[in-house]
Symmetry: C2
Subunit: 198 residues, 2 copies
């Protein structure tokens, strides 16, 4: 049990991902020695972020407001909807691509063993949205893991039921990767899905 | 400039050592997705630690009280005083060795170029303490860097002026290290300081 305030601080820091005892110690000492102002700001920002950041009612991404800035924007194309597992995935796509459509953040993936089914991912709400019409393509950008693929199949079925075209991010050899080090599954898939040279 | 609260949180997390943009992002998402309770506790503990943790008036280590628990303890041996650069070094020695004496935390090392002289390290207070008598050995455990060695020499002089025996942690080949990969300086030192086999 942490007794002193310093031990309590080290303990509290360990909720951060990838932070163990040693790193938490280093962080606590660093803040107390050199970053007291920054530490105060972190404490306040953390409290108000936890207090005020909820989920967008349209896309389930993090948002301070009822509808997030992307969903509220008039310049985004409502015909395309991109389903991602997490806000971090959404951000990665937003930063890497020129995509101008909207997003749907599942906040997880189908995982019956962990008790995560369609209801937990808000798929009923997604179904209602597809039923409303207006969406012509559902871009499925779940992770290429077993659970992500299962989720992708489920989403594709859901889209087809509502007359929406489902699409999936391409699989293949990553840019800058070396064939020698690419795993067999990826290489086999990339070989099978080869395209004509432009 | 961070605009949304989420961006502000990511920005605030970057004061932590070793945390860049990507890690801060991951931490913010993790806390908001799965650790809101832990995040609240971290915010509160951080604020009160910054508010209440100051320095022990005896040894300059972090302490919530005027005198830290080690300095106030009746079971520690006041004849030995161990000088370290930082609270983290103090903790490392406390955890690794069976040392039962007291500590003196310099909170830095002599570094004239950075404007850190004897006054900044509280060496006047250390001198008064050595002058009081009662201390017979000053164990100098500054880091084996250029600045740490300079500080060690200064401390050794200070100790001798007050009739206190200065000692220094042994240098040599680290346990479990391989000679092939030990740096030249260390190996040369270890060879020169070789001792008889017990």
């Amino acid at each position: 049990m942490p007794v002193t305030l310093l031990e309590q601080l080290i303990d509290a820091l360990r909720i951060l991902p990838g932070v163990g005892q040693k790193t938490a110690q280093r962080m606590a000492y660093h803040v107390l020695e050199r970053e007291r102002d920054g530490g105060r700001r972190l404490s306040e920002t953390l409290a108000s972020a936890i207090e005020r950041i909820g989920h967008c009612t349209r896309c389930r991404d993090f948002s301070e407001t009822e509808t997030c800035a992307t969903c509220a924007s008039a310049s985004r194309d409502g015909h395309q909807l991109c389903a991602v597992e997490s806000p971090a995935d959404r951000l990665a796509i937003e930063q890497a691509t020129g995509y101008r459509g909207l997003y749907y953040v599942l906040q997880g993936r189908l995982s019956p063993l962990d008790g995560i089914g369609p209801a937990e991912l808000g798929l009923d709400r997604l179904a209602r949205r597809l039923a409303e019409g207006g969406v012509s393509e559902l871009i499925i950008a779940t992770n290429p893991t077993v659970e992500g693929e299962a989720t992708a199949h489920y989403l594709a079925q859901l889209a087809r039921q509502h007359g929406v075209r489902p699409s999936r991010l391409a699989h293949g050899v990553p840019l800058g990767g070396e064939l020698e080090y690419v795993d067999r599954g990826t290489l086999s898939h990339a070989f099978g899905s080869r395209g004509d040279m432009p």
